[in-house]
């Protein structure tokens, strides 16, 4: 089954993801070349959403590995269930089994705890593996990940090598807090996710927020786009836009121009630090509103 990028675009729309052409193309390319995809972009532009939609498009399971500093193989790949192993040792000792037999027994599949990476390569139907914020993990982990992505097999000393049953579709995201290695970058297709343009953001609002009509959605999208151009510490992402749209809808606002006060009051949905809140004064809010509405 080969989908072209139009099919993917349609299917993305069907699962509620408003994609631009480039995203559809890169998702097609990922399928076509069987390569992992690295998504970069600022926080809140919807990188994780791409992976979720990809899973929905292929009706595949989404397996997510959230990276953090100090993430090691135990947390990412597999772990032995120590408590059960200890219990098993005690009970079997009572029966009088030999040490070798016990060891054989406790290092078997039954005592293996699957973590996301192992889970991803042991599924019958290829899942979507989302390695989120890979830049937060250490270099060592990155190297390990690279190895996994090229061989799709892991070796567990006590069990032997486990080969992938199916090759997962891999999406990595990065916020750019650390420079990723060239090797990892080259292994992946690359896509830089930017904030959606006004039209696309308006479409997203209409799709995700019931009770907001096209005109209001367009006003909101324009307003948010203007706010993003202000000198802020935390630039509001798409999730914030949706929060704000929902709030405005909840307040029964139909036209931003009519209710500058409500706009200013609810702008708290977009601004996440005190400094930004102070910077976006009533006057600024009204000035922006004058420009966009």
């Amino acid at each position: 089954m080969t989908l072209n990028s139009n099919d993917i675009s349609d299917r993305l729309a069907a699962v509620g993801y408003v994609a631009d052409r480039d995203v559809a193309t890169v998702l097609w390319l990922m399928e076509y070349l069987k390569r992992p995809l690295l998504l970069e972009g600022e926080a809140g532009v919807g990188k994780t959403e791409v992976a979720k939609s990809l899973a929905a498009v292929h009706q595949a399971e989404l397996i997510r590995l959230q990276c953090y500093e100090g993430l090691d193989q135990n947390a990412a790949l597999y772990e032995w269930n120590y408590q059960r192993q200890l219990l098993a040792i005690k009970t079997r000792e009572g029966v009088g089994e030999s040490a070798d037999a016990i060891e054989e027994h406790i290092f078997s599949e039954r005592y293996l705890l699957e973590r996301p990476l192992l889970a991803a390569i042991r599924r019958e139907k290829p899942p979507v593996l989302l390695v989120d914020e890979v830049d937060r993990a250490d270099e060592e982990f990155e190297a390990f990940l690279l190895e996994l992505l090229s061989d799709f097999q892991v070796s567990i000393p006590e069990l032997g090598t486990i080969k992938a049953v199916s090759i997962p579709r891999v999406v990595l995201t990065s916020n750019g807090t650390r420079e990723l290695s060239d090797a990892l970058r080259r292994r992946c297709l690359y896509h830089y996710v930017d904030f959606p343009d006004v039209d696309r953001e308006a479409k997203i609002i209409v799709t995700k927020t019931p009770g907001v009509d096209t005109t209001l959605a367009l006003q909101i999208a324009r307003m948010v786009s203007a706010v993003r151009k202000e000198d802020l510490r935390k630039i509001p992402g798409v999730a914030e836009t949706l929060d704000w749209a929902a709030t405005l809808a909840g307040l029964g606002v139909h036209d931003l121009r009519q209710e500058p006060e409500a706009v200013y009051e609810t702008m708290i949905c977009l601004l996440k630090t005190h400094e930004d809140r102070v910077r976006l004064t009533r006057e600024v809010s009204e000035r922006l509103l004058g420009k966009v509405a």
Binding site: D22, T25, Y32, I89, N175, R178
Partner: protein, 396 residues
């Protein structure tokens, strides 16, 4: 309109053009290997290749590896594929001429690609006044030949051999600094705790009796140094030395990043990683050339904070700004950006060569605005003053 054949086989001329494109990308600093080219060929066999915009976005995802690649790609793609095509069609749109003007390529790299109108080294577009910063020399002023080279102000070193020695000393200093910093770190690595999970794991075969203990030690991140070097006209007596110092830093520190700014900020770590000193310094001197119009420290810092800080700064990062503090922008702006920078990193060190001058007080308004956010304000007019930094960095 671009690829000619509708059916799967890619003809020889197309393959050659693709190879030329890969070469162009490589010349522009893209890391393009055989895998990418092979995959590009695969893409060309697909019907998607018949639409230029789709092909461009597919190639973009394939060939780009970083955000800066991403931003430059379209321009290169258009110049290479569309520009040529336009010219061949004798179109009057002028796109080809435009792309050629963009290209400003140097004659020696032209050979085969000459007819393709591709931009060679997009990032080096401003080749204006081609004088290496190293050519600028200060006045000779009472620097006795017997004086220790370490204590002579850089701007007073004029003798070529002395200059060469000072350059290599600056570079060596950076290496020595790194070696000592690491040694100090290892002595500190003593905080040990028992690692329960690993202990149990290891001792399962002993029936759970902890025979073999596993310890956990703190992993200390190495100090990362981020250097922002002012390469404006007022600094030009010093730039050459600092470029050499930077090269040493980049080579020796496992984690270091370098930026150069005058009116704009440029990330120069990749050029500095060149092992060949002369070539690296050459490349950099070219970038270091200001286009005139003064120094915009505030704006350059803003660019840094906005686009680079998150990537290059971690919890053990010292930011070192080397500048005389003469800012042509608004001092409030500089102050604000300094405050943001201060929040992010461990220490801000400002090296100002002027401090070495007698009777210097930081009067420049920009300098005044920046001072409250600086942890260490130190001179950097000779080798001795650079060496004096080391114990400070070791404590971070």
């Amino acid at each position: 309109m671009i690829p000619t054949e509708p059916n799967p086989s890619v003809g020889r001329p197309m393959r050659e053009r693709l190879a030329g494109f890969a070469r162009t990308l490589r010349d522009n600093g893209f890391k393009v290997g055989l895998t990418e080219t092979r995959d590009a060929l695969v893409i060309l066999t697909h019907s998607i290749a018949s639409r230029p915009t789709s092909l461009r976005s597919a190639f973009r995802s394939l060939f780009c590896a970083t955000h800066s690649d991403w931003e430059r790609f379209d321009e290169i793609f258009d110049a290479y594929w569309l520009g040529t095509q336009m010219r061949r069609m004798r179109a009057l749109s002028g796109i080809a001429a435009e792309s050629r003007a963009l290209a400003r390529r140097r004659l020696d790299t032209m050979s085969l690609q000459a007819s393709n109108g591709q931009p060679d080294h997009v990032e080096r577009r401003q080749e204006g006044d081609a004088q290496g910063a190293a050519d600028n020399r200060g006045r000779r002023e009472g620097a006795s030949h017997f004086e220790n080279l370490a204590t002579i102000d850089f701007r007073h070193i004029t003798d070529p051999t002395d200059m060469a020695r000072a350059h290599s000393l600056a570079e060596r200093l950076a290496r020595v600094m790194r070696a000592r910093l690491v040694r100090r770190e290892q002595i500190r690595r003593r905080g040990r705790r028992l690692d329960l999970r690993h202990t149990i794991h290891r001792n399962v075969s002993h029936g759970g009796t902890p025979v073999d203990l596993a310890w956990r030690r703190r992993k200390i991140k190495p100090l990362r140094l981020v250097v922002l070097l002012d390469a404006s006209g007022s600094m030009n007596l010093y730039t050459a030395f600092f470029v050499r110092f930077l090269h040493g830093v980049m080579d020796a520190f496992r984690e270091a990043e370098a930026f150069i700014f005058h009116t704009q900020l440029a990330h120069v770590s990749p050029s500095l990683r060149d092992r060949d000193v002369t070539r690296a310094v050459d490349k950099l001197s070219m970038m270091a050339q200001g286009i005139g119009g003064g120094t915009r420290i505030g704006e350059s810092l803003a660019t840094f904070n906005r686009w680079h800080a998150r990537r290059v700064i971690n919890s053990r990062t010292a930011v070192m700004i080397v500048s005389d503090g003469y800012d042509t922008g608004a001092p409030e702006h500089l102050g604000q950006e300094m405050r943001r920078l201060r929040w992010r990193c461990r220490k801000v060190v400002w090296l100002n060569p002027l401090i070495g001058w007698r009777d210097y007080t930081p009067q420049a308004r920009g300098m005044q605005a920046a001072l409250p956010y600086i942890d260490l304000f130190a001179p950097a007019h000779n080798l001795e003053s650079l060496a004096a930094l080391e114990p400070y960095l070791a404590r971070i």
